[in-house]
Amino acid sequence: MSAQSIDHVVIRFAGDSGDGMQLLGQQFTHAAALDGNDHATLPDFPAEIRAPAGTRGGVSGFQIQFASEVIHTPGDECDVLVAMNPAALVKNLDDLKPGGLAIVNVDRFEAIDLKKAELASNPLTDDSLANFRVFEAPISTLTTGAVEPFGLNRKQADRCKNFFALGMMFWLYSKSMDPTRHAIERRFGSPFREANLAALEAGWSYADTRELHPLPFEVPQVPHIPDARYRTVTGNQALATGLVIAAQAVDRTLFYGSYPITPASDVLHALSVFKEYGVVTFQAEDEIAAVCAAIGASYGGAVGVTGTSGPGLALKSEAINLAIMAELPLVVLNVQRAGPSTGMPTKTEQADLLQAMYGRNGDSPMVLLAPRTPADAFRTAYEAVRIAIHSMVPVMVLSDSYIANGAEPWRIPDLDNLPPIAPPPPPSPQAFAPYSRDPESLARPWIAAGTPGYAHRIGGLEKQDVTGTVSYIPKNHQRMTELRAQKVQRAQALLQPAEAKGDPSGTLLIGWGSTYGAIKTAVARGRAQGHALAHLHLRALNPFPPGLAEVLSRYDRILVPELNSGQLCQLLRAHFLVDAVPLSKVQGQPFKVREIHAAVELLLQGEPPEGALA
């Protein structure tokens, strides 16, 4: 059977949080990956474990864009929406393209289902779907039928319906089902194994015989992919991997102290299986104990790392300051989520930047890095360890929920190409003073407690320069405050210079972290329309990369799209006195490309860019 070739597709699976939508999405992603499609994913699920079935609040979604070209976002709008119930349908309809395909599980459109979804009438029969192509499939009934032979009870049988839906989608996009078959075989015991396999096949056959579409589609592989090994990684997996590799590079134990919190917990989970790599994970009684244990480990010569999300970072702030004062290496992962307070724990946001920058008592600068994509989190974690040890400073990594749970293909790096990680060279015991400094980096020596000949005391009171004894001398405090700041500033030497991609003048879009893909795509789109645009994406937020002032000076207008109320924008204005304009989205959702594109259009017309979000 032949297929119709297309460049890129966006699909979204949506159902109850108990319906297995995330698993379904991951399996589809894996199939796309093996086919050599570029891809980006966006899971979106409620905070509750099993949010009330059938309600809008209970809808769990998974979106993937896969393509035969390089892409950078999971897509603004869907070509296909798979909706397992009315709540999933209406909640996601806004994001379905006009003319897009809605595949609907009609078995769940009874009066009671509509009521749970707070619907007055049935969208399948009223006019709400007029602009879309609708494919009504009795997914529940067909699944139950397909798995009948395996003796499951009603509830168990119904649980197989995600694989039925997956089978349909595999047919529609001509994907091989083998990897999913293997996964089912590995993951499930009898009789669920057999039932899920049957549901998968049934879904495929149904789509084929009922002609879900006249012809299936095919998304060819991206041309010129280097012949390397790849993995599809989430941001959290990539962070964990980067930390392990970095600790091995410096030949120290990796110590991860953490207290569970969404969306950072998966880093703890990932690291706690790496026992044979010597990784020590410590689930502490709270965030304070977690960071303090990491500091203690670092004092003992391990690579001390702690990870959390916004509210947990607030709790760690006092102890991070201890690391600043004690001048010990420490890496702090902050996987941001929507705040303030408990906020919206599973939703994404970038609103902890200024907390990261300033949320400690006294003048207490620290290095801040942010990954831009899930795969990029590997390199960012590695760099964080490198800088922390090179400069004897705490380094914070600002990831977010979108990066943490989103996935993309990652080319497995060649370890020989990673920069080396080395602590400041230790002086001889005779020449040793705890707060003597490397002339370049200003780092003090990192002497692991227990090292013979170097016994010494440190602490959180102000230290006398060089000797490290307690000091209240006024000028010394000024000097030490400046040294702590300079040390962070000198970490610039380890950073890539600032570089804007695109036009050398005109309008510059600056972003940081997870907005990378959306900004990059919007800039490309705008340039294709003839606008003079460029994109500069910061990995380092403190210190800023070398050359940033010069780059900024070349542009007439600067737009700063952020998932917060203008925090980077505020820093740029203060540092460079440039009239940078914020584009602030605070909705718990990533930017859509079109929102940034529209903001640029407005800006070029002299309007406030915020209008793009209205």
Binding site: G36, T241, A293, G304, A449, G450, A455
Partner: protein
């Protein structure tokens, strides 16, 4: 034995406690105990929080870390996991350890991390100039309780036993030999030791323990616990403890021979330890020594054993394998 002396553990820093403070004596005994234990200096690490007591690490010529208020047990846990071969000591106060740091203390004790935790209990906040602490008595007038404290005090030993501690002991600043032995015991115990040290703050709470520890009546008011020995004390009047239901009662003994009828101390009986820790009443003695001790695997040995077990089964972790993981792939070439 070791040829180290106390002097080897004295740092060059000027000591900044008030003249007459009980902390001096504790410091001296700790330095002496370090010499007696005989490890080289670098094998000790002394971790403290904030408070007068927590200044101690600066004065000991070993590794030392004066951290932040209440968090020393957590810092020490990380250090011990990174360097299990060190002898790690936690110095804390009744405010540092039982007020802001009570939770870390509880969890480190339950986990049984191999730490020697010394709680300097002066029943007051010294460093912040005299507010009441969680061990201050009801009715006590302090800067922050001008009409008297209304919070019933926490019983440190009872609290520690309640968390599941494996070694709970008590000593006092003014009995150097007893204290030194308690410190050596703390080191020798494999697991967390919780050693409460009664300490006089002569500026803000002078004489807090004088009723028991003054030379004049010390011998009549202190019960020294010894494994297997009868629970008796007193010089003028000989008294002893007898079992009374699930608790203890003080009895006046007619003479030393009657001591044999008294209960004998069994530090491995946690219920007895509980009764001793919570004993109150007009003639109740100050009980010093090891209230409770048991053996359980330490936290760090169990945690690190999972690593060595994994390595024994899977081999030393191979980075290449980690990178590729089971789900890595090469793109199918068409």
């Amino acid at each position: 034995m070791s040829d180290l002396s106390r002097r080897d553990f004295m740092s060059d820093q000027t000591i900044r406690w008030c003249p007459g403070c009980g902390d001096y004596s504790i410091l001296a005994q700790l330095q002496t105990a370090f010499a007696q234990i005989g490890l080289p200096r670098e094998r000790y690490a002394v971790i403290s929080g904030i408070g007068c007591s927590s200044r101690l690490p600066y004065y000991v010529e070993t590794y030392g870390f004066h951290t932040i208020h209440g968090r020393a047990p957590a810092v020490a846990t990380g250090l011990k996991l990174a360097r299990p071969e060190l002898s790690v000591w936690v110095i804390t106060g009744d405010g540092d350890g039982l007020s802001i740091g009570g939770n870390h203390l509880a969890h480190v004790l339950r986990r049984n991390v191999d730490l020697s935790i010394l709680l300097f209990n002066n029943r007051i906040y010294g460093l912040t100039k005299g507010q009441f602490s969680p061990t201050s008595e009801i009715g006590k007038r302090t800067k922050s309780s001008p009409s008297g404290v209304v919070d019933p005090p926490l019983n440190p030993a009872a609290f520690a036993i309640g968390t599941g501690a494996t070694h709970v002991a008590r000593s006092v600043d003014v009995l150097p030999k007893h204290l030194r032995e308690a410190l050596v015991d703390a080191h020798e115990h494999r697991g967390s030791t919780f050693l409460e040290i009664l300490q006089n703050c002569n500026i803000f709470n002078d004489g807090a323990f004088a009723d028991y520890t003054d030379r004049a009546h010390r011998d009549d008011r202190i019960l020294y616990l010894k494994p297997g020995a009868p629970l008796v004390w007193g010089k003028e009047t000989l008294r002893g403890l007898v079992q009374d239901g699930f608790g203890l009662r003080v009895e006046i003994l007619d003479g030393p021979e009657q001591a044999e009828d008294c209960l004998r101390h069994n530090p491995s009986d946690r219920n007895l330890a509980w009764a001793l820790a919570t004993l109150e009443g007009p003639h109740a003695p100050l009980i010093l020594g090891t209230l409770y001790q048991t053996q359980r695997p330490t936290y760090e040995s169990e945690a690190l054993r999972q690593i060595s077990d994994a390595r024994a089964t899977l081999g030393e972790g191979d980075i290449k394998r980690l990178l590729r993981a089971s789900d890595s792939f090469k793109v199918r070439r068409e």
